[in-house]
Structures are given as structure tokens and as C-alpha cells.
Symmetry: C2
Subunit: 157 residues, 2 copies
């Protein structure tokens, strides 16, 4: 099973880069993992929020394969505890999912079309986080889920 | 009103340092703010979890002033959305609180004595985060709360 982290926007900012790379590297001990950054549309500034979401959504959907299991990070999603994240991954592995895509949307969230395509909607917290920090938290939690699945000690830095 | 972030443990690790410093600096535009790191007891490794929590708790309580408003970050606390964090700060300002202490406990959480002393218990998320990441999230959320209180634009990096 491969894990992919998709995020709309630019490269990791320096204030989260080391953290994201640290935890992504640790995940790689458990699953093949990579980041795919989806650039915002070129004319983003001239688009309305809803048009921007639609455009971003089209780019996302065009890059998804039919069999990809899409987990969208969205504030309307389900709150999970860390064991719940582990159970979600374990269930995918049990059902022979080949590819999980974790998607962090753009500045205004994801389009209705993307939400409809989602196999799972996950909310990290009732708090709103900046997208760059969401990347960091996502990588850390997926690493933690890996340690829970394998019953291994969480390695503190 | 002063804001203090207290955390049991060592200095900020490099993978969160830039983020913590970035948001702490921004908070300083709204409130005087500083970090106080409370070292774990010297014989921490030889103590049981509960003894360690008690020792840490004693150190914390001895440093609190009677009038300090203590917000303990604890998984048994209340989940807030970002507006709720802003409302909490605003209410303290309205009630002329002089000093808010946000406390991040040690590796095994905080003692019963500290929980009893807490004026508020706040849970960031049902997810478990490493303490270093909690520092980062706390600073970011308090900055966000400041922008909400002042009705100012959240400055993305």
C-alpha cells in the first residue's frame, strides 16, 4: 500500500519543512510515501473563491486514479483519535487498497465535486490550522498511526 | 494581560523551533508573551510515571502565582474551535486577568494537583500530539485568536 500526501499550494515553508521531512522519512519505514504538491491555478488571484475551488478540484480529480482511496482533510469531516487513524489505515491494508491519497485542499477548502469523490473525510481538530501546519500534523499523525499498527514505540525526537 | 507558555521539558527541538518563534513573535504584537521551560526532575528516569507527574506538578505549582489564570492543555479538556479560543482570551481580558499561563505537561501528562489548580482545561484535538508539536500548535492558535479578537487578517507566511 502506498501513501500519498497531496496538497494544493506551494512548497513546504521553512518553518514546517524540517518537521514534515522528519515524519515523512519515518513513515517510509512502514509504507512507500510521497508528497505531491498541486499548484494553484495561474489566474488564482482573479478567480472568485468558488471558481478557484472548482478549478483546483478539476486538477485534483484529473490526477486521481479510479481505485485511489481518497481521504480529504476537511473541517466537516470526522474527528478521530490517533487509534482511529491507525484503524483507518489498517482497514485499508486489510482491504488491499493499493494507494491512499490524503488531500489537503486549497486556501478556501475543497470543491463539492472533490468532497463527493472522497472515500473518507477527516477533521484533525475543531481548530482551524494553516495549510502548512496541516501538512506537518498529517505527517506526524500518519507516522504515529504506523507505530500503533505495528505496536512499536513512538520514537520521540 | 501577559501570556506565558509553560512547558515541561527541554528547549524547542529544531524541527519546531522556527514555527514556534515565528508565531510567538506575532503574538507579541498583541500581548507580552514568553516561554518558560520547566526542566523535568533530575532523577526522572528512575521515577514511576505517577511519581514523575507529582514531582513535575510540585515544580509547576510552586512557580504559579495565586492570581495566575492557569489553562492546562490536557486531552480530558474541552475541545474548542478557534473562535472559542479567542472568546476565552477576550473574556480574560474583560475580567482584568493579569497573567494567563498556558501549561503543556510532561511526557505522562499533569498531576491531579495541577488539574485541580487549573482554571481551564483545553484539549487541542482528540489526536495525541508530541509535546514539541503541541508547543507549535499552541503558539499558532493563540496568534490566530489574537487576530480574531482584533478582527485583523490572519497573516499567512
Amino acid at each position: 500500500m502506498k501513501l500519498q500526501f497531496w496538497s494544493v499550494g506551494k512548497q513546504h515553508e521553512s518553518y514546517v519543512k524540517e518537521g514534515i521531512e522528519l515524519f515523512t522519512k519515518r513513515i517510509a519505514n512502514y509504507f512507500p510515501v510521497y508528497w505531491q504538491l498541486i499548484p494553484a491555478p495561474k489566474n488564482a488571484a482573479s478567480l472568485s473563491e468558488s471558481d478557484l475551488k472548482i478549478k483546483e478540484g478539476e486538477a485534483i480529480i484529473s490526477q486521481l486514479k479510479k481505485e485511489d482511496y481518497l481521504i480529504v482533510l476537511d473541517e466537516r469531516g470526522k474527528l478521530l483519535n490517533s487509534e482511529g487513524v491507525a484503524a483507518l489505515l489498517q482497514q485499508r491494508a486489510n482491504e488491499s487498497t493499493r494507494n491512499i491519497v490524503f488531500l489537503i485542499g486549497g486556501a478556501f477548502g475543497v470543491s463539492g465535486e472533490v468532497l463527493q469523490r472522497a472515500n473518507y473525510k477527516w477533521s484533525l481538530s475543531p481548530l482551524v490550522f494553516p495549510h502548512q501546519l496541516v501538512r506537518f500534523i498529517l505527517a506526524e499523525q500518519v507516522y504515529r498511526a504506523c507505530t500503533i499498527i505495528k505496536n512499536e514505540k513512538y520514537h520521540h525526537v
